[in-house]
Symmetry: C2
Subunit: 162 residues, 2 copies
């Protein structure tokens, strides 16, 4: 992990966490994602599944879609991504399709499952390895701050799992 | 496979193939998907990745999003789905999240890879099995008609792989 990317990833993750908190304040589930290309943050999103009545509206999918619009390109080549939680197989495969370079994430799929989400039991690392993707994963990044989002959410009255 | 679902799946697959052809006529890649709930077709979509500048706009993702809007529900419980091609891990995981019941598909991920797409080397069946999903897969359904879409596409001047 290069120092430069580590510093950028910290800024991205702080934006992702802030977005997740904004989402939770609106009754959304505790996930955020931020994407940078060329050192610039080009998209930040929280999960909007309930808000948009769209089961595909995970934070990473939203951030990828917005990033594609921003750069007017279906490929996010060399993008650095920070996600508060390990990407589920839907999001991990989307990151592969988008050809991002590195994905930093904090909490794990098992943390999400413990919070009640109907997670597929397949890690992002296993999908990357078995699928022969070239996306680089950096797990456990700002893990404490990211797992705390689930603690906040579990104690919320508005929570809805899926 | 129940006879009733088989008949419905045939109608769905015909709609999915027709949609894929319409997409190809507009320069899109050769994938279509149709979804039914309660015996009614509620969404039909082709791939719109290039058209929408959205790497996540696979046929299945589009059809799921439209179906969620149609039934005003994030869950497509008991839905029957027909896809011209085996769902990639992004789409397979989305179908899991949507809690659909059965997915009929024609062509395979290796057919798509042969046509030039940057497919992850993980079958829908492996994702379902390893992920412990309850979605039921019915492969090789109207396979000839579905693989012919790739033949049409490979000979098209407008094709763009990703």
């Amino acid at each position: 992990m290069e120092k430069q990317n580590h510093a950028l990833a910290t800024v991205l993750m702080m934006a992702a966490i802030e977005s997740a908190k904004q989402g939770m304040a609106q009754g959304q589930s505790p996930f955020g994602c931020a994407i940078s290309v060329g050192g610039q943050i080009i998209s930040v999103s929280h999960n909007r599944v309930v808000q948009d009545t769209d089961i595909t509206a995970h934070a990473e999918i939203n951030a990828i879609r917005e990033a594609c619009q921003k750069v007017t390109n279906i490929f996010l080549t060399d993008a650095i991504v920070a996600s508060t939680c390990e990407p589920c197989p839907m999001c991990m495969a989307a990151l592969h399709w988008a050809r991002v370079k590195e994905v930093y994430y904090g909490a794990s799929i098992s943390d999400a499952a413990q919070a009640g989400f109907n997670e597929l039991q397949l890690s992002a690392a296993d999908l990357v390895k078995q699928g022969q993707s070239s996306v680089i994963l950096i797990p456990d990044f700002m893990k404490k701050e990211c797992t705390e989002l689930f603690d906040l959410w579990v104690s919320s009255a508005q929570k809805q799992v899926y």
